[in-house]
Symmetry: C2
Subunit: 164 residues, 2 copies
């Protein structure tokens, strides 16, 4: 790193360094999803169900269209997932009181149990990685990830309940 006359800090990032970052994302994401995937296989659910469960847990009472924006899929695709979760009694869909067109989504007890199981596994890995890398690394990790998001997604990300 070098400070230029203008005060800007230049990073000399070779293509190779950046490529390594790209590959790190690829391999790490595999690990990131591995544990929940393992739990879900044989349970009739997949990654799509996990994502829905996660964000409903995170924002209880969220609407379908809000979920659509966060997940970035079509309503037909999300509907198929929600349908099975609702039919199986993991998710409850409540007609909105102020706007009755909206459906507010909540996890049932059963849904919360699965959510717990999935997130326990995923958090364990994340926590282990955090511990191994140390607190300074954790902060950098989060900064780079946030900078990598599309602005819309960053907005959604920051709107989720604070705490981190």
């Amino acid at each position: 790193m070098v400070d230029t006359p203008g005060g800007e800090s230049l990073l000399f990032l070779s293509d190779e360094q950046v490529r390594k970052g790209i590959e790190a994302m690829f391999f790490a994401y595999r690990g990131f999803t591995a544990d929940p995937d393992r739990i879900l296989e044989g349970k009739d659910y997949g990654r799509a169900h996990h994502r829905a469960i996660h964000f409903i847990h995170r924002s209880p009472g969220t609407t379908v269209s809000n979920l659509l924006m966060i997940l970035g899929v079509t309503k037909q695709s999300l509907n198929r997932v929600l349908r099975s979760l609702i039919d199986d009694g993991l998710v409850r869909s409540e007609k909105g009181k102020v706007d009755a067109r909206e459906r507010h989504l909540y996890l049932t007890e059963k849904g919360q149990m699965l959510e717990r199981e999935l997130s326990d596994a995923q958090r364990a890995r994340m926590r282990a990685a955090y511990r191994a890398a140390g607190p300074a690394a954790v902060s950098g990790f989060r900064q780079v990830l946030e900078a990598m998001m599309d602005p819309d997604m960053r907005r959604h990300f920051n709107r989720l309940k604070e705490g981190g």
Copy 2:
């Protein structure tokens, strides 16, 4: 963070903090794949082709089975992707000289052009994120990602040509 008598550094990571990390991974990965996905749509190729192209570029002459391990898919799945890339003249498959059962894979000129296009876009985003976050953050980012990988994947990751 607190230093214990034993010298160990404890991280007090609330579930909320860890959850934010999980969500950061989710949203960032979307950004990470967004640009190549956009380029590929309308070109008859998808993310699977991108991955194959990336790792063939990265390790010219790699064998099919090596690629299988790195990508973590079945040979039938990889074959479908390679088939189209070979038929379209983006990838060249060469019978091995020392072991004629193996096929060594190379990008053709045409394949290198597409690789360049895809990786230019992806590197631009990664580089921008790196610049925005700063060099210390970049180091932490890489450390956490590496700690998050499965050991097998970490081995593959570290075996790829150094430079970062």
